[in-house]
Symmetry: C2
Subunit: 188 residues, 2 copies
DNA sequence: GCAGGACGTAACGGTTGCGTTCCGCCCTTC
DNA sequence: GAAGGGCGGAACGCAACCGTTACGTCCTGC
């Protein structure tokens, strides 16, 4: 019954509003204004700002990235880094993600939603990446997938989302090499 | 002329309020209420929410951490990791830091203040750490201090501030070992 | 054609916060 | 003991939003 074009407009407006002012200052009225929509249309769909944001964000986050399977650890690593660094440089995403992360620190509902979106996916990627590499003999038996994920995502996230500087190709190659050696030598 | 005990109360209230509701929702009235102080006392000191927060935060951030100098790379690394992980697990800091990071993504003034506080300090630590290690022959000539900092802070920040899980000692040792090997093998 | 329902608009009363102003108190300083 | 100034408190007018409601329009399906 609800018109889907309106729903799309609202979702879009929420994402942009979220990027511009953050969750803390996001207001239903601003979303409605931006979407060119009445407040009623929003309240007909969600009952809360929180509920609305959670539903929309987890929907977007749910569009899962494909698991890496290029045939080699180096290839998988490069693919992951490319995907992550692209995502973290996306104008909207790069504002929304740290904002929701910060908000999650004080809102358990947001935290849980984000953790679900993040951790399950992150775990799957980590285990697949490491599992394949171990099976191929590229990484030692007993390599910790959690550590691997931290070593890969951590520096990228730090550089892109925190320090906010653009890594060039040389840097990315150095980082890949460093991570590879680190994991290869990490005893179980 | 301004009573210093009042100033202290306000600073304190700002930090706590910042941690609880974030910059976006921080209000002067709430700060005054929490500090047990009239709004006038605040406006007598700062003219803005932004100005107030920036002054207070950069003052706190300015209390710089001592540079590492334990005599060995392993020791320096352990020290840094301990300091950082302690800081990122501090209740107040762990909420304020990601929040301001997110806010910095949309407010140039905050971004600049944070960058100054972060980058200069981070650079100094990185250069000192790597410089000393290279001089001692523990790391190869031409090691990139920037990469080193990313490899050290990135995974820690990711785990503590983003994934929000507590790393145990075993994990920290693995991480230290991984970072050390990674840097030792990183070609210039 | 007619009913139903989703839509935008506008208004509601209530809350919160802004930045400012004025008051009367109290402490310091001379 | 008088003056000055920082202090808390209260109130100001203004603006933004909340969540809800009533109304009139438009589209869809029967």
């Amino acid at each position: 019954m609800l018109r889907s074009d309106i729903t799309v407009a609202i979702r879009d407006a929420v994402m942009h509003e979220l990027a511009e002012v953050g969750y803390g200052r996001l207001s239903i009225e601003a979303v409605a204004r931006r979407a060119g929509v009445g407040k009623t249309a929003i309240y007909r769909r969600w009952s809360n700002k929180l509920e609305m944001v959670l539903e929309i964000v987890s929907d977007v986050a749910g569009r899962s990235v494909p698991l890496p399977d290029t045939g080699s650890f180096a290839g998988d690593l490069q693919l992951i880094m490319m995907i992550v660094s692209r995502a973290l440089q996306h104008r909207i995403a790069s504002q929304i993600i740290p904002d929701l992360m910060a908000e999650a620190a004080r809102n358990p509902q947001i935290a849980e939603t984000l953790q679900r979106a993040l951790r399950t996916h992150q775990q799957a990627v980590g285990e697949k990446l490491v599992g394949q590499a171990v099976a191929r003999g590229e990484l030692p038996e007993g390599t910790d997938p959690e550590l691997a994920v931290d070593l890969i995502l951590g520096p990228l996230y730090w550089r892109l989302a925190v320090a906010r500087s653009k890594p060039d190709d040389v840097y990315l190659e150095k980082l890949m090499a460093a991570v590879t050696t680190a994991l290869r030598s990490a005893a179980p």
